[in-house]
Symmetry: C2
Subunit: 255 residues, 2 copies
């Protein structure tokens, strides 16, 4: 069993090293937050030989309301800016693509294939019907060490009548802070989420999640996150989150 897991781990390492190479070629690593374990999604960086083009769920679709679109355009327009000489260059923000499978499009032998061929789907992207569940897009600002997420809550996320389930809010917080921690510290695992719920979120509304680095200490990355109304006037939740840096092997061995 341990040997098998070791082989899977080596597969991940191999994919990871491919990812790193490609990262230097201006393909930034795509991250996914997973119960706080946010991994670099290697599929983006793999040669096209290995995959067909996956759907990027973070791009606008017909379900996005005017507030979602307005905010998307606000941050997206700052991903590439024009210099005084009229040249385009990277802006302060970077949009992170988002997929619904882990390593869906990679190959890696019998062990990886078992994972790839499974029916597993990322929790936040497990419903394909546009607008029904989690519609969101993440932007990262490396200089300010911040992540912003625009989140439109669909009708399948109900908790109290007409409002978003506390677990769905926690899911978005884990996703955003976990992604942010990974960008800052590499692969991590959520160790703690401490969420204060201040005000319920109406179903169908668009809110902002803002994630900020508090501090890093050894293996620990401390993040805080606020969920506010789209204009920032209402505070819905406040969270502190702690992430621990890990190796894939720790996860695969269930440690």
């Amino acid at each position: 069993m341990a040997r098998s897991l070791g082989r899977i781990y080596k597969g991940f390492q191999r994919l990871g090293s491919l990812s790193s190479t490609q990262t230097q070629l201006r393909h930034p690593p795509t991250t996914v937050s997973v119960r706080g374990t946010t991994f670099v999604r290697t599929m983006v960086a793999l040669p096209s030989l290995f995959f067909s083009k996956p759907r990027d769920f973070s791009l606008p679709n017909s379900s996005w309301g005017s507030e979602m679109m307005r905010l998307y355009e606000h941050y997206n327009s700052q991903c590439e800016v024009e210099t005084e000489e009229g040249e385009k260059q990277e802006g302060p923000w970077r949009r992170l693509p988002s997929y619904n499978r882990f390593l869906k499009y990679a190959t890696g032998g019998v062990y990886l294939s078992k994972i790839i061929q499974s029916k597993a789907r990322l929790f936040t992207r497990n419903i394909r019907d546009p607008g029904a569940a989690f519609e969101y897009v993440l932007f990262v600002n490396s200089e300010e060490q911040k992540c912003m997420c625009i989140f439109q809550a669909g009708h399948l996320l109900e908790g109290p009548p007409g409002h978003v389930h506390g677990g769905a809010i926690a899911t978005m917080i884990d996703t955003v802070t976990g992604t942010h921690a990974t960008i800052l510290s590499g692969p991590v695992m959520t160790a703690n989420l401490n969420i204060n719920y201040r005000r319920p979120i109406p179903l169908g509304s668009t809110v902002l999640l803002e994630s900020s680095l508090d501090k890093k200490e050894g293996r620990k990355t401390f993040i805080s996150c606020k969920v506010t109304s789209s204009d920032g006037s209402k505070l819905h939740t406040e969270t502190t989150a702690l992430f621990l840096s890990i190796n894939f092997s720790q996860l695969l061995l269930g440690e």
Copy 2:
């Protein structure tokens, strides 16, 4: 706006009073945890005139594995016990039914109808494919002031490869502790969830959530919750949760 919400609230109150009456007729109130707001589900208690029979998601289906079934039978067999005289009577545990819509089958005028006719679905029951997402059943023990939840995690809840998303775990914790708080204190809203993640949960596995009352102070209900492997040998998460008692009107007015 306030008047309209007031009318909705009155509708809820009316339904609530019907529920209470039926409760005395051995139809226990069914609760639903909603971002911590756990409400008595009145539909169970409404006269059959008002509804067609809804699907109870907490009953066994073909996707339930042997561990899920074993634990279900363990607790279900303690819901009704036989006396020495051979008479049947209530046991220490009570199973809570679970539906995917709030007030789906009730009527209550134009305002309630708007809610009823909406496409909204309870977050934890928004996928009908058996075994794909959250399979769970709750049992409550009033004497011990405990709730037990048996939870089988489906393949659509993935976070880290092969493991359950931290947000899906938080969702189950919110659901179980919120339901428990409502049974103890009436309608409540989650004020805080403080979750320590100790060990990841493999996709497809069955785990136990055990919710215990810590204390009640005025409007506050303090609950703690452990998620363990089905045999209790592995601790996956530890949580403290705080709930505040509310009126429906507070929620409807977004307070």
